[in-house]
Subunit: 404 residues, 2 copies
């Protein structure tokens, strides 16, 4: 087993094992935020025929004169097809999006016309082609609507609807289960006895996985179960999920409950320990075709481990690029600690008039929840052995929550 | 009734009528993305007592010497409380997050210790307070966890869990129904006859409302129903929803089906027509305590009208600031049209190394879907009578999808 690996090595060891989940078909109206699993093209021209772009009168060719007079042959309502074509001096009432009769040279907007019986009057010259939407103006047959791996947004839903797709093939959602270790950890709704701590990592990991497009199949705690019970619990969760996140129990020394439990299942360990802070107590193992990622029990370390090791897996399982998205931003606050391993600082990235600024969240100890409280949408990535960070410095920042 | 009002006037007329929806209690694990409806504070200090920050040995005061030797009085496991306090020269095995015995002056990390029987050895001087988390280090009783109107993120879910909250009071989701007008419009799963068009606006509006935190209660089309049937349909949707979005049927002249249908219900019209492009065919009316917003049938105009008139309502209903969030960005493309009313251009806002750049989507005609296809996450706001837009110019941009 590899110990205390570099972050990139840890990510590669895990991702080498992952491939996108199989496709499933979902109703179009439930596809928002899902990831489309094949390149999708326009099946035909849209509009399918020449249409009027406005409410008005389709007119035929006529002699040039300043006041135009036409005979209106028919008054088309929405959904109606023209019965006859237009000869010079003839017109037809048409509606936005409605078909224009054969022989139409332009559509004159309703607002600038005057009708007396079936005599149409207006001023000015209709420019040939004006207010006519050519066939295929919006999409030509074969045009790309979406590349495989596109997150489905409302506009794409509209385009798929326009082509009659009431179902879409998307990558299945990853199924994620969470197992909280440590016999002092109790469910958040229970009343702690002295020495007991309410579980916050289970809810945090469940919410993060959910936000990143996963379905959470279970959140359990090992409580004071013995190793055999924990092994059974882990195996049960592995049967129900694609990936099990364990949190806590990754102590130094003889108490590494997580490592012992993972070993008990017979899972193949990929690595244990990563050269990052917080989150050094992270590990991963493979069990059949499932993945176990073990994260620290300290909330901030648990969240950092999730973003750096688990989120890439959830992205790749859904057909997205696994690696985190980096930007450069100006850090508005200073950070006095220096040296040590590569450090990730929970921060809030904001767009303002001057560009991108990133603010360090108060409460950066790995045992603290406070740093995760606000809109912690970014991690500042400081290299190993970094000097203290001065306010105003440019930093490299990972944007979290890249799925949406 | 006011006609062709300014955008700000239209927004005010609608928003004056809106107040946040009542609270509802949801399970903590279903609260992600919802908006908390009251200021929430820490109910007690967290941690509740002094804790060890590491796995190691709690040690008492001792004489200064380079090699320390202590007698270990007890070996505490996770969840165990100390039985005895420490006298000088005494130590106790403690775990991360576990309570430290009375008399502890520091915790020495496990990694740098050596144990022989119950004799503990290590090198160096323990600094008083080192590796001890003071009571209330993370939160002091009364600390603010979240202001009313905060979008609930995974970190806040963790903090609420840590304080034993298994339910959260959030604003109820807005209920939104969509009614597609125009007798030529057929459900997207149907096969169009000549002159018929598949509905794309219903799916687009449903997806936008869903993304903005709403629950969609119905998507219907009026088909070839007469005015009495349409009125009945509109009234049915109004009974099930807080807000009904109609789309289409807002033609110029005698065909304004939307206006006639809204009038038929007896709803009080707030305005009809807005001085914007696209989306000028937008209107709003009040029916009892419900709102009707009528949007254009052209897809891009429908979406723009949604973002400018409906999305603010959905935000305010959920206790958020209703107005769109503006940033300044550099436009990478040019836009040749000039003059006319205030114009909103569907665009994609991206963060890159140099800052914010915004790219105009291809296909900006209001009848086109193409402009909505990609990650159209922004609208460029050009003032009335604007000159042509040159690539490289700074523009004012509305960020869409501000709820998450």
């Amino acid at each position: 087993m590899l110990e205390n690996v570099k972050l990139e090595e840890a990510q590669e060891l895990i991702l080498d094992f992952i491939k996108p989940l199989p496709a499933e078909s979902v109703p179009l109206l439930e596809a928002l935020g899902r990831i489309i699993c094949r390149d999708t093209f326009a099946a035909y021209d849209l509009p399918v025929c020449e249409q009027s772009a406005v409410d008005g009168f389709a007119v035929s060719a006529s002699e040039k004169e300043k006041v135009h007079s036409y005979i209106v042959r028919e008054f088309l309502k929405p959904g109606e097809m023209p019965v006859s074509s237009l000869n010079p001096g003839q017109a037809a009432r048409v509606v936005t999006g409605g078909p224009a009769p054969v022989g139409t040279i332009a559509v004159v907007p309703y607002e600038i016309t005057r009708l007396a019986g079936n005599q149409l009057h207006f001023t000015g010259d209709p420019v040939p082609g004006e207010n006519i939407k050519p066939r295929g103006e919006d999409f030509r047959k074969g045009d790309l609507l979406a590349r495989q791996g596109t997150v489905i947004n409302p506009g794409l839903i509209g385009a798929l609807a326009a082509f009659g797709k009431s179902e879409v093939a998307v990558y299945r959602r990853p199924k994620v289960a969470v197992l909280g270790m440590g016999q002092e950890i109790i469910p958040c709704q229970s009343m702690p006895l002295p020495g007991q701590i309410r579980d916050s990592n289970g809810p945090i990991l469940a919410a993060l996985a959910q936000r990143d497009g996963s379905q959470v199949t279970g959140i359990e705690l090992v409580g004071d179960g013995d190793l055999t019970q924990i092994k059974a619990q882990l195996e049960k969760l592995l049967r129900q999920a694609d990936i099990v996140l364990t949190t806590g129990g990754t102590a130094s020394g003889e108490c590494d409950q997580a490592l012992r439990a993972v070993r008990q299942t017979g899972a193949k360990l990929l690595f244990w320990g990563v050269k990052i802070k917080p989150g050094s107590h992270s590990g991963a193992a493979v069990y059949d075709d499932k993945l176990i990622i073990s994260l620290s029990g300290n909330p901030a370390a648990c969240a950092a481990g999730y973003h750096l090791l688990a989120a890439p897996v959830l992205r790749l399982l859904q057909g997205l690029s696994p690696y985190p998205e980096y930007v450069t931003a100006v850090c508005t606050s200073s950070f006095l600690k220096k040296g040590g391993p590569r450090r990730f600082i929970q921060a809030n990235l904001e767009i303002n008039k001057e560009g991108l600024k990133v603010t360090i969240m108060p409460g950066q100890k790995s045992s603290m929840l406070r740093g995760l409280l606000n809109n912690g949408n970014a991690l500042i990535d400081l290299p190993a052995g970094h000097p203290p960070l001065d306010a105003g410095a440019e930093v490299s920042v990972i944007i979290l929550n890249a799925v949406r």
